[in-house]
């Protein structure tokens, strides 16, 4: 069995982990085009080489980031997402014009 080194729980069998896809920069959801958003949500680069990916340690519900070579399947490094994501991401809905404003316009 392959061993993956979880930054929180230490080395564990790979069967305890779930792959979560590539780590990508999120476009601004309020200002990006639909194509940019769809590209972010649905498509992946699928490179051969060292990629940065999300992984989940399922028994603890802990998400972390791994650098993995997709050719050799070797995991080079794993680390806590706090190394990259230093602040909480808040989502705000676009402000809809209120009914009274629409009448006067």
């Amino acid at each position: 069995m392959k061993i993956i080194n979880c930054p929180l729980n230490g080395p564990r069998n790979s069967s305890e982990f779930v792959h979560g896809g590539e780590v990508r920069q999120m476009p601004d959801p309020n200002n990006c085009t639909d194509k940019e958003w769809a590209d972010y949500v649905f498509y992946s680069d699928n490179l051969i080489g060292v990629v940065t990916e999300w992984w989940l340690h399922a028994p603890s519900g802990y998400w972390f980031i791994a650098e993995r070579h997709t050719g050799s399947d070797e995991i080079l490094r794993t680390y806590d997402p706090a190394e990259i994501y230093t602040s909480r991401v808040e989502f705000k809905a676009k402000e809809e014009p209120s009914a009274s404003e629409e009448k006067t316009a």
Partner: protein, 219 residues
């Protein structure tokens, strides 16, 4: 003869049907097995404490709130503290805490739960969604070696440590601590697979004369 049965209560352990020939007592609005008929304490016991009250909290303000409430939150992730009154605090990961009372503890958990709320604290439900099984006896690590890949021998897994891993192929939290002066493993696992895990652990314990045990063996 036991007059209290699990069916009298709306709140039941998920595996109450497994407890045949058991004597129950009312604990926290549910039926807790206190002993099994005609049985002395087994060499290795497995006790179902699922009905005992517990709650969880997580978030950036959780640790400070626990300190403010006079509790002893563990310093390091994946460890636990156990107070003299029998109040146990598990730290799962960085910002999640579970608060439990061991059998016989005189702690008002619902009042504590009310106190531990506010901005930056999110409730975690760990009562009805998790089974709490306690394994006691001298061969804890030997039994667990049959179902779990993590080294749980005392030199690598001391009292006060916990691991989140898979055991018998289901996810669970395993804690080593003391209960009534005995070395025990507390195991928390999804309630949906609790019946399977109960049987799997008893099967693994069989080699060491394991058997179901009531709460009385832990007080």
């Amino acid at each position: 003869m036991s007059l209290i049965t699990p069916e009298q209560f709306d709140s039941r352990s998920f595996i109450y049907r497994k407890h045949q020939q058991a004597q129950f007592a009312e604990v926290a609005g549910a039926a807790q097995v206190v002993s099994y008929q005609g049985q002395r304490f087994p060499e290795m016991g497995l006790t179902d404490l699922s009905v005992l009250p517990r709650f969880g909290l997580r978030g950036p303000a959780a640790a400070d709130a626990l300190v403010a409430a006079g509790l002893l939150p563990p310093d390091k992730p994946n460890t636990l503290t156990l107070s003299d009154e029998g109040l146990m605090v598990l730290r799962l990961g960085y910002t999640e805490y579970w608060v439990l009372a061991v059998p016989g503890a005189t702690v008002d958990l619902p009042a504590l739960e009310q106190q531990l709320s506010g901005p930056g604290i999110y409730p975690v439900y760990c009562h009805d969604s998790f089974a709490w099984l306690v394994m006691s006896g001298d061969h804890l690590a030997d039994v667990m070696a049959k179902v779990c890949a993590v080294d749980l021998r005392e030199q690598n897994f001391a009292s006060g440590d916990l691991v989140m891993t898979s055991l018998a192929r289901v996810s669970g939290v395993i804690c080593r601590h003391q209960m009534a002066g005995k070395n025990v493993f507390s195991i928390f696992s999804d309630s949906a697979s609790a019946g399977y895990l109960w049987d799997a652990l008893l099967d693994a314990m069989d080699e060491f004369n394991g058997a179901p045990a009531g709460q009385n063996s832990l007080i």
